[in-house]
Amino acid sequence: MLRESYQTEGFFDEAIADGDARQHYRAFLEQFESLSATEFEHKRQAVDLSFLRQGITFNVYGDSQGTERIFPFDLVPRIIPAAEWAHIEAGLVQRITALNLFLHDIYHEQRILKENVIPPFYVLSARHFRREFANFPVPKEIYIHICGTDLIRGADGRYMVLEDNGRCPSGVSYVLENRRAMKRAFPRLFEKIGVRPVDDYPAELLKMLRYIAPQSVVDPTVVLLTPGAYNSAYFEHTYLARQMGIQIVEGRDLVVKEQRVFMRTTKGLQPVNVIYRRIDDDFLDPTVFRKDSALGVPGLIGAYRAGNVSLANSIGTGLADDKVMYHFVPRIIKFYLDQEPILEQVPTYLASEESDRKYILEHLPELVVKAANESGGYGMLMGPKATKEEIEKFRELIEADPRNYIAQPVISLSRHPTFCDGDGFEGRHIDLRPFVLYGEKISIVPGGLTRVALKKGSLIVNSSQGGGSKDTWVLYGEE
């Protein structure tokens, strides 16, 4: 039923090429297409209901009823064959290794700046550069413990890195829950097709968190620090804490005494050794960073500096998320590893470079402009879809603060068959966010979160902008 009227419309399609299924989708489609429309609809409703029941929802801001919605979930999985995944994995390992060396260097010797591989101005002016942490020895010399790197495929199907999320990337709970939902809806599919499991992510995460504990602690107490129940990722926070069997704490549950962190329990104060924090640097400690932060813990940074508590991710990793720094990652890989990047990236123009700026301002209607430190689809101009006013607004923004803007050509993201209410199966644009863990070794859960732009023609996959998600299958073999 899927292939009957399906059109790729000239886009790179993940599942279909030249009117037929790609090799690694054949076994799946054969099974999937034997479902009747009614059976499919049944399964779809059952899955939605199960997400709603489990409270896997997000709050719709600005709705006074406090309506909760489920993240739209599409039942057609994205499938990646083994060799393709091996290529992605190698590229991600290379990238996080280089980024980590880069952060270590920037917060210590700054060789890369001294040798002028990257103009020092860009690093020193980065919003998330934390000069207070120069020469601070982070535990096990790891800065980015958890990285959610966004990958896309362009018109020729080659994978490209779109951005690195090295602060508090979210979405991994959906990877795990989507798989659970698919297994319940299509148990027989999994029997027939060799799909690599994803369930050991929480165990790997906990292993990593225990690994970075302060040296002197034998059996470390690990907690997850959440901004609280009203945060849009709260479901994920409780989910991960529960899977790891650790406490989920809010700032007010913690207290610092003599540079040691404790949680307030019914049996008095109990020491805490490692904090998986899902709060940005700025809000961690009101005595050091933002004074108005009610989410943080007064004195936490003092305890961190004294080496009495470890944080994941480390403070100051936001530097690597800066979209200007992204431009330099190929140079970073070359400089520290003496290798060519395995994964390509999108050509990027820096507005503070004279010639680039000229080009950007002359070609605004063709380009995507992004603020260097925004995420979630905010602070962005989609040139081809923008109105004249929007373009003029960005022209002013860029001229006023060129350091904070970059531009990229519009990449036509690959598409994937997706069930669209009323229209049957149609192609929709997707991306992929794999989750990389950096502990004693680097481990990557097979696949990651495939996000899909459900609106016809839309290239924006963010959940805040009408995106949904899919289960991502990495195969043991090629088909």
Binding site: Q247, V249, M263, P298
Partner: protein, 333 residues
Amino acid sequence: MLSRVANSLYWMSRYIERAENIARMVDVNIQLLLDFRQVNDEHMETHWLPIVQATDDRVLFQSLYERADSQSVCEFLTFSADNPSSLVACVSLARENARMVRDQITIEFWEEINRVYLFLNSARAREMWQSSAPEFYYELKSLSLQIQGLADATIPHTEGWLFMQAGKYLERADKTSRILDIRHHTLPARGIPDAAFGAREALEWAAVLRSCSAWDAYRQLHGADIGPRRVAHLLLLNEDFPRSVEFCLVQLDQALRRISSVQPGRFSNEAERLSGRLAAELQFSGIDEIFERGLHDYIDLLQQRLNQIGEALFETYIAHLFEPAGQEIQQQQ
């Protein structure tokens, strides 16, 4: 266990128990009205106002509605967004607390509590309520019992569960005593009530029993002969009936002592001292001395003492959560 988590588990459990009691009480009293031949406005008021009084919200109710009748009281106790202890509000608060401690409760437990919440906030709930209120309340009661059953059957009986027990039994003791107090105006202020009274009173006392799920227990003990003295004895002092105040206090006391691992007959904090004393008093009280003192006055005092136990529990385990960490802030600055 984190103090904040203990606090949420305790309140979650209290709100679940409260919701179930409201559902039962409203349901029983709607049905009771069907048994009366003539129901005029005045009748309505004397029937429904004590029920509003039992949830301690009379002032709020009278500021919102002109008259106490089936429609207004049921609306107020079930769906009203202005009433912080309506059924809908209790279920929302129970779920909100559950959401704060999702890592502490099982998936089965959470899904059930979430299901009740989603049901109450759906159009289906209103439709069901309007077309058949008994069916609606039946649904809610059974959901609440399922939640409590899941708590016992799926959550390890460790500290968190014990805080849930404490919340449940403290709330239940309070609600049972309030329901028993609903028909106090038919009794003399002091003294043991007459055994013989009218058919209408018998129906009303039967409704009190039903509101506490005590009808079957009562009949096993005393047959169909309903009298306030026996009703009060069952609801206050019976040691085996799981909704009697004495039973609840003994359970509460056990839960508190298991939290702190204190031997029976001893106490290590104010909450244990107060609950242990009240439990012992109930165990060694007679129903006639309570009536001699006056049932209503006795229940008034009982509720105050239950509140004191709740406050002491908060002081012992939770309050330090709200103490600022003053010293470290100054050091940093």
